[in-house]
Amino acid sequence: MNYILSKEEMERVFAAISVDFESYGAVEKEGEVVFDRVHSLAEVSENRSRYAPKEFLIRRNENVLYLEEQQRKAVFGIKSCDLKGFYLMDKQVLNRDPFYTERRNKTLFVNFVCNAPCEGGFCSSFGGPVLDEFDIQVLREGNNYHVMASDKYDKYFSGYRNDDGSYFSDFNRKFNTEMPPLEVDGLENRIKWNSPIWKEFASRCISCGACNYSCPTCYCFDLYDDGDERKREWDSCILSGFTSSSAGNIRSGLDERLRQRFYHKFVYFKKSKDEFLCTGCNRCVEDCPVGIDIKEVITHDYSLE
């Protein structure tokens, strides 16, 4: 259902949610927006967080021999691009990965729709910024909050003023003119295996892993034994030890590994799950120290190659 709430009413909703959940939110620290415990909605920053908060569902590093019961958490202020990442991950890991699934089921995300396009972002190309799937989706207009609540969390809004939701669709339309979507249709067939861009990217890349670590859709991990623990840790498909077999990594060249990353996002996932594994957040571009731009992979003219 759709609602419209005042600031005070939103605080009351926050308080009600915080009874059932441990509340986290985007907060500013030394000019950096990070996630931390919050005790009121007023503390929550509307600015985009410095990183996609995927550790709420996939921890950077954890022992996988035990699955402890998880706390119920509510995360306020996640942006649509980052939340969309979880819906894409769901297609691959939900109900397969017990750790992810346990946390996913117990985490409530309250996504804040960006009021204006961010520099470099291209979420409109992948169904943003107003999402079709959400727990509670919020769009502020002055002192009022437009809210879309999913059935599961609709109860927190009972008694508040209903809204027809047209503000969201109008806003999304306007946003899409300000951030014209890139031409992604058919990308899975257009992209070229032998394009020279892979080698050009590789000539710059220093294998830092930033594109993977920053990506709201990257879910791959490494598994290793550590004493009496078996750990998994976020991994990077750019590294040569990734998916190593007895013969080493079957993609021995850095250009091949970079291509694999983009093929996974724009070809394999699309063909198997019917979605591109990218939310247009632009985080991999921002964190890349050598300016490798995923948008170039989308807009590159492959026809002459």
């Binding site: 996630f35 410095r50 000539s203 710059r204 830092c208 892993g209 490494d222 750990k231 976020w234 030890g241």
Partner: protein
């Protein structure tokens, strides 16, 4: 969940990181407001911090009793360390003990260690900068008056040409390297002089793949060309330098046609490179261990300085000399005076200025040169040094000629090691003191561009581990009569009095993004570019240097040249990086890089176990066939204690700075 802003514990770039901690599951992000890394990190920053939680961490003080380490209380460990040190001092005098500080520890800790050493009466205090940038300190102090990078990392973007000599920047200082990569892609000139085909060499406008150890021949030839073609900056030379005429005479013998036989570089290539550097200014000159780790290390540095002066590439944004510091705090630890010939702030031990410290510390201080790191173990072997106290160093892996280090340690009456892990070196100690990591303590690091940055604790220390400053403070109280410090801030306040360049820095004003020294009354905001109007010496000095061959050369038996260094995934003796699982997975074992031509000639296949033998020792390792090294040259990283390449490195040192020649070793390789 907490978020703490601190500094990456790896290389000297000094990237600022924000660590989000929830238990032991850290997330690391680059601090986007940092002028150093602008939010970017390399793989060591992202995936290198898990050593902090390794089960191998030292948690309790231990004393070796009859060949076995026994857990003891802090009081017992500290008392015994102090008592035994005092006994040795009383019996053999203060110069019978030696201290090894660490460029991985904070400024406060290094300052404290040298103060303790000097208060007990010895200048035998030195650290790993001896093995990396002691030639820089000495060389640039001689020519310019300050042994530090002249510009900022940010200012690199203003250059039109980059000259990188002896630095594999994208692997060793990755975030600085990426700035060069990005600028090169925008069309800037990049000249790389390196025997290996590094990533930057692949991208370079010109790659001068010269023979190891022939740097001066190469640099002098460049300057020969610049003078021959009148590309020198006459105004800069006449207004701001001295010694030009004498220098010019030394250059005359180095025409590229003559040096080709030494360097292996074709004259026309060298001419093109020299023209770019001199003409398309400003030019930033970056160097690292490829320049310093030679028996002519100091002269190499001075030669680099000559080139910058000749082309007027100093004092302007985008120009300058950038000695890239290997460890997080090499600049700072050197500033703090944990070098046997300098008091804090590079006051020579034999200068009248030492009085400044005698007043500050209220004690008469030693004025004789102490033992350099490379000399301490020899002195121990000869019985002149009876006790060595090591903080956060692993000389059994990192020193040249490590088998002699082993012998020397066994000859000591007391060997104390303060570390975060039971390293190969700590395993030989009489007393082991467990220290906190830089993610567990407060203090400051000074990065490669002189930026003093605040280090903040993210995690609690494991077990009874304590910050190095706390341990030193306790030892200092017992042996040197200091009254003791309350906190790192307390020590920093004294550093501000001791070192004029640090006078204006406070814990408050260096947070969050740090300040570059000198920061004082004249430069309250710090100093981004040094030498804009004048040099600390007044006029900068040209120092004539003439090429002489490296200590080792090939012969019929040892027919290849080995160079040593780091790789991208590991750091120093690997105690940290090899306990970070992703890093260790990426580079799990020692290897020797060898060209396919040599491999074929020697019948060696990729990944085959081979022996590398020098005149000093032998190791077994795996062959890695690669085009990165040219025929005749092999490269071995020094991170691996299971195959210590420093067994192969001889003891020849630069007579000026006493740095060993880690970069040129004659070897033979066989299956």
């Amino acid at each position: 969940m907490v978020s703490v802003l601190t500094v990456c514990p790896y290389c000297g770039t000094g990237c600022q990181i924000v660590v989000n901690d929830e238990g032991t599951e850290e997330r690391v992000i680059g601090y986007s407001r940092s002028p150093v890394n602008e939010g970017k990190l390399c793989i060591k920053g992202y995936s290198g911090l898990s050593y902090n939680f390794s089960r191998d961490r030292l948690k309790y003080p231990m004393i070796n009793r009859d060949g076995e380490f026994v857990r003891v209380s802090w009081k017992e460990a500290l008392d015994e360390t102090a008592d035994r040190l005092l006994e040795i001092i009383n019996e053999y005098g203060p110069d019978s003990i030696a201290f090894q500080a660490s460029a991985k520890c904070t400024n406060e800790e290094n300052y404290l260690m040298q103060k303790i050493a000097r208060l007990v009466g010895t200048n035998n205090v030195d650290h790993c900068a001896r093995s990396c940038h002691s030639p820089t300190a000495l060389g640039l102090i001689t020519t310019l008056g300050a042994g530090a990078a002249t510009g900022s990392i940010e200012s690199l973007a203003a250059a039109r040409t980059y000259f990188v000599i002896g630095s594999n920047t994208t692997e060793q200082h990755p975030i600085i390297g990426t700035k060069l990569v990005t600028e090169r892609k925008k069309g800037k000139n990049l000249v790389v002089a390196d025997p290996r085909k590094t990533q930057l060499a692949e991208l370079a406008t010109i790659h001068l793949q010269f023979n190891p150890g022939t740097d001066i021949a190469l640099l002098n030839s460049m300057m020969y060309v610049i003078l021959e073609e009148h590309l020198e900056d006459e105004k800069f030379i006449s207004d701001r330098t001295e010694g030009f005429q004498e220098f010019r005479k030394a250059i005359d013998k180095h025409s590229p046609e003559i040096t080709e036989g030494i360097t292996g570089i074709r004259p026309e290539e060298l001419r093109r490179a020299a023209r770019l550097i001199a003409r398309d200014r400003p030019t930033s000159i970056l160097y690292a261990m490829g320049i310093t780790q030679h028996i002519h290390g100091t002269e190499n540095v001075m030669s680099v300085s000559n080139l910058a002066l000749l082309t007027g590439n100093i004092g302007v944004r985008g120009s300058g000399i950038f000695p890239l510091r290997g460890q997080n705090n090499v600049q700072g630890s050197s500033d703090m005076g944990v070098l046997s010939e300098w008091y804090p702030g590079y006051v020579p031990v034999d200068s009248p200025k030492v009085e400044r410290f005698e007043k500050l510390w209220n004690k008469r201080l030693p004025r004789n040169k102490g033992l350099a790191l490379s000399e301490m173990f020899d002195a121990a072997a000869e019985g002149r040094v009876k006790a060595i106290y090591v903080m956060g160093e692993n000389p059994l892996v990192t020193e040249a000629s490590v088998s002699d280090v082993e012998t020397a340690i066994h000859n000591l009456k007391l060997f104390v090691v303060q570390d975060i892990f039971m390293t190969l070196t700590a395993g030989e100690a009489d007393i082991v003191l467990p220290a906190s990591t830089s993610l567990e303590k407060e203090g400051t690091f000074t990065n490669t561009e002189r930026r003093i940055q605040k280090v903040n604790p993210v995690y609690p220390s494991p077990g009874e581990a304590k910050p190095d400053w706390w341990i030193l403070n306790e030892i200092g109280k017992r042996i040197s009569g200091i009254k003791g410090y309350e906190s790192p801030r307390d020590i920093f306040e004294e550093i501000r009095q001791a070192i004029p360049g640090y006078a204006g820095a406070t814990y408050d004003n260096i947070y969050p993004i740090g300040k570059q020294w000198p920061i004082n009354e004249e430069n309250p905001a710090g100093t981004e570019i040094l030498h804009t109007k004048t040099f600390p010496l007044g006029r900068a000095k040209f120092v004539p240097v003439v090429y002489a061959p490296p200590a080792e050369s090939v012969d019929e038996k040892y027919d290849m040249i080995m160079t040593t260094g780091r790789n991208y995934f590991h750091y120093h003796s690997g105690t940290m990086s090899r306990r970070a699982d992703i890093l260790e997975r990426e580079s799990p074992e020692p290897y020797v890089e060898i060209n396919a031509v040599d491999a074929k000639r020697l019948g060696i296949r990729n990944s085959q176990a081979v022996t590398v033998e020098s005149r000093h020792g032998t190791i077994r390792t795996k062959a890695r066939i690669t085009e990165k090294v040219p025929p005749g040259i092999v490269f071995v990283p020094f991170h691996y204690d299971e195959s210590r390449v420093n067994r192969l490195v001889g003891k020849q040192v630069d007579k000026l700075s006493k740095i060993p020649e880690f970069k040129v070793v004659a070897v033979r390789v066989f299956a």
